[in-house]
Amino acid sequence: MVKKLYKLGLVVSLGMFLFVLFSDIHNLDRTSKNYLSEHYISEGVQETGAINLVTSVLYDYRAFDTLGEATVLLTAATILAFLVPVTKADMLGTTFTIIVYQATKYLIPFIAVLGVYVIMFGHLSPGGGFVGGVVMALIPILLSLTYGIDFSEYKLTPNTKKVVEDIGAIGFILLGLLAVLTGNNFLANGQAGFPLGNAGELISAGLIPYLNVMIGIKVGAGLAIIFNSLMKEQ
């Protein structure tokens, strides 16, 4: 009983400490250093043409960071494909009944259309390349979960996935180099004079939808490679 009370007191005191700490951080002088975020909020839609401000920060102002994050995934997928043994070593798992097969078969077109929608409308709605890529990667994951890994690799061979991922990685850099040709910085969008269009339409915001497509392809193929090669491990 005493021990329980002691633990409870410990948790409560930790909670109060964290509350005081975070309330102090929240009340730091908020007028001094936020001219950058003010600039993003007030000028972001005119400068980039994307309604979603997170996308405009992720693919326009800080696009070079996004390239670095995507490179991490490429490296991870490549190293996993090298390190995991090529010989088949199976895992213990269940075989599902026929009901799950039927449901999976009818769910796959729905998931495909949802993934393409999330990728293509990345600059108008919440979502974007990363989330859409994960949704697209669910199709090979569901196939290899229900129908077995042989069927999944017969439908989408590993070589195809690797080629698709390389297309995504190279296309991102080529789209960035397109801005250098016009005499601007790497991955510049609005300053380089690409047509921004009307904010709120499907084809607008210059280079951002194409960068979204490249990131989506790359994340989807990379996650599928990682899942399949980890599933083969014993």
């Binding site: 077109p109 495909a112 259309v113 499907l202």
Partner: protein, 171 residues
């Protein structure tokens, strides 16, 4: 060819609903994307479905599917009322029972869809399916005697006959 066209219509409708607007750009992109998707997926989605008969047959079939669907939707609410009455009772009384039921269906789409609807009907839950002897394993929550079990089995056979009409040509 008919299957591809049906898949194309379905995915295009889904795309327009997701996009939430109708203009020339959305329709252009939708046509390109949905033609690629229907070319890839048409054979895997409608593999065992027999689609003979003209467009009039398909319209009749869709209305029939709508009626069956709404009947099962009504059944969900009835069974939910029963279970929630058990949940709020002072001393809930159960008499659960696990039963095997033999089916006569050959079409695997019918088996899957019927087992999926079986969870919606009153007091039944599809536990398992034995592909060797073609047995459903069903769990019932409130069956007291053997006579009631027989009437329940007859009811389930009737519903199975209703569902099996969906994917056969002579509707």
């Amino acid at each position: 060819m008919k299957k591809k066209l049906l898949t194309f219509m379905l995915t295009l409708g889904l795309w327009v609903v997701f996009a939430g607007r109708m203009n020339i750009q959305v329709m252009m992109f939708g046509t390109i994307i949905c033609s690629i998707l229907s070319h890839l997926l048409a054979n895997s989605v409608f593999r065992f479905v027999h689609l003979n008969g003209g467009p009039k047959q398909i319209v009749i079939k869709i209305t029939y599917m709508f009626f069956v669907f709404s009947a099962f939707l009504y059944d969900v609410f009835l069974s939910a009322v029963k279970v929630s009455r058990q949940a709020f009772a002072w001393n809930p009384s159960f008499s659960p029972r696990i039963v095997k039921l033999k089916t006569s269906d050959e079409n695997s789409s019918d088996i899957g869809i019927f087992a999926h609807f079986l969870t919606c009907t009153q007091g039944a839950l599809a536990l398992d399916f034995d592909p060797l002897h073609k047995n459903y394993v069903i769990h019932w929550i409130d069956v007291d005697s053997d006579a009631e079990a027989e009437t329940r089995k007859a009811l389930i056979r009737k519903q199975e006959h209703l569902v099996a009409k969906i994917f056969h040509s002579e509707g």
